[in-house]
């Protein structure tokens, strides 16, 4: 535990990377997931089929394998997917190819679960809403954009939050693939200070618990505020 308390900067910087990974991939996966759910419930049968196949494949693949793919596989086939063109430095944080590959893997993986969460939300919108929207002559895009999705997003807050919490915990996989975020930092502390392993584990675990509780609290507040009467 002293090991962590003696170098709080390392501890905080590591969790900084965790938060960055979470925020960037969170936004991307919500956008991608929304696109996927539109394809999935839309009237074009082939788009819907394609989305289903994509989701089935990605959801059933372990995240580690997806990370491996973007670390070792994809760069051999596509130059761009080396992500060597990404080199951003903000303050003490370096966002390089490792960070980008992690964001891509996390976003692709999470977007499937976001899609499923939103679909659960769409299913929770009463049938009459869509029927009424159609009755006043809205096209599919209007039905979705103006009537169903705004309600679906509200109903989807709890499952969406569960998905995002899972994403937050999954950012730890990036630690295995070159990003020095909390899990990687914890492993390096664990290696360096053999006598303090339990304390180190508890400190880092509590860091995650705090982050999870924050996301969960935000979701609970949003859910209450947006609840459909």
């Amino acid at each position: 535990m002293n090991a962590v308390l003696d170098s709080p900067d390392l501890f905080l910087k590591a969790f900084g990377y965790t938060v960055f990974l979470f925020l960037v991939s969170g936004v991307i996966s919500v956008v991608l997931g929304t696109l996927l759910v539109a394809m999935r419930v839309g009237p074009v049968a082939i788009l819907s089929r394609a989305a289903t196949v994509y989701i089935t494949v990605v959801r059933n693949t372990p995240l580690v394998i997806i990370f491996l793919f973007f670390q070792l596989g994809a760069p051999k086939v596509f130059q761009t997917l080396r992500f060597s063109w990404v080199d951003i430095h903000i303050g003490p944080y370096d966002f390089t190819s490792f960070f980008t590959a992690a964001v891509v893997a996390l976003s692709l993986y999470t977007s499937c679960f976001v899609c499923e969460a939103l679909r659960a939300g769409i299913n929770a919108v009463p049938l009459g809403q869509a029927e009424a929207a159609r009755a006043i002559g809205l096209p599919f895009s209007g039905v979705m954009r103006q009537v169903v999705l705004p309600q679906a997003f509200r109903a989807a807050v709890p499952p969406l939050a569960s998905t995002l919490i899972a994403l937050l915990k999954n950012t730890s996989v990036a630690g295995v693939f070159g990003v020095i975020e909390a899990a990687a930092q914890m492993k390096s502390f664990t290696n360096d200070f053999a006598s303090e392993r339990t304390g180190i584990f508890i400190m880092f675990a509590l860091g995650y618990v705090v982050l999870v509780e924050i996301v969960s609290a935000v979701a609970t507040v949003l859910e209450r505020r947006w609840r459909i009467a």
Binding site: N60, P62, S162
Partner: protein
């Protein structure tokens, strides 16, 4: 809501438009897939040398025995442990005594919030630090970590399952003079188990996927085998494709099993799920109307 209510049944003009969209999609997908295949071919990913290990009996055997079987063993051991852990803490959380309920709540919430990787690292270095050989040390670290995590999730599932049994059942049992443990073991659990089994199988899929997280320490099972194949043959892409395909096949099999059990023994369409947030956490009904899924 069935997808069908989101749009009117298409007329001739819309059908033509959808056909156009369909054709554009097909063309775009064909171009995309074709381009990927062309790049794969261009970079020599289809060369026989790269696929040779997956056609060689010795390697196939290694993939299946050292890979798949070990992975399944880890997932299965973890799920067995998780069911025990989940039963103890799930029932503990339902206890009438605060002194029992609160510690159980704390343990469950803690292990639900901590990433599995952290647990694996901790188990590997601190709990099983002195264990030999390396493979069994990794094995038990992964199994213990997955037991704790999945056990915490299952504890919530069990609690929800027990709460889902109609109230009258417990009331009737108390009325004919049963004791608390009799009500639990004779009335509530037998009925709840039925609802829980599909959820346990679904959790098995999670556990199976998470066994790959052993990669953070020494790695074991399918990921370990992959790790030893591609340095030899420089065939990262084919190896990843093959390993991913095995995971997908096994997971689809488990998904199908969960759905079948659900239909055969439970009857309701949706597998019991618990949310991480909101007050309705672990109430049995997940989302109103969810049962109407297409």
């Amino acid at each position: 809501m069935a997808a069908g209510v989101l749009f009117d049944s298409p007329g001739p003009a819309t059908r033509a438009r959808h056909r156009t969209y369909g054709i554009v999609t097909v063309v775009a997908l064909v171009v995309l897939v074709g381009w990927v295949l062309w790049r794969l071919n261009e970079t020599g990913q289809f060369e026989y040398d790269k696929w040779e290990p997956f056609l060689t009996p010795a390697y196939i055997r290694a993939i299946l025995v050292d890979g798949l079987v070990v992975t399944l063993q880890m997932a299965f051991s973890a799920i067995i442990g998780a069911v025990v852990f989940g039963l103890v803490f799930g029932i503990g959380k339902l206890s009438d005594h605060g002194i029992l309920r609160w510690p159980c709540w704390l343990v469950v919430e803690f292990f639900r919030a901590v990433p599995v990787i952290l647990l694996i690292v901790f188990c590997f270095y601190a709990v099983f630090g002195g264990m030999n050989p390396l493979s069994s040390r990794t094995y038990w670290a992964v199994v213990l970590a997955l037991t704790l995590y999945n056990g915490a999730v299952l504890a919530e599932v069990f609690r929800a399952g027990i709460n889902a049994v109609p109230k009258g059942q417990a009331e009737a049992a108390y009325a004919i003079g049963m004791r608390k443990y009799q009500v639990m073991t004779l009335i509530l659990l037998p009925q709840a188990v039925k609802i829980m089994i599909p959820a346990i199988i679904s959790q098995m899929i999670v556990a199976l996927k998470d066994t790959s997280l052993g990669y953070v320490v020494a790695g074991l099972g399918l990921t370990r085998v992959a790790k030893s194949i591609y340095p030899q043959f420089q065939n990262h892409v084919p190896t990843i494709i093959v390993i991913a395909a095995i995971y997908i096949a096994v997971n689809l099999l488990l998904t199908w099993l969960a759905t079948w059990v659900q239909k055969r023994f439970v009857g309701e369409k949706d597998v019991l799920q618990v949310s991480m947030v909101g007050e309705q956490t672990a109430e049995a009904a997940p989302i109103p109307g969810a049962a109407r899924t297409d």
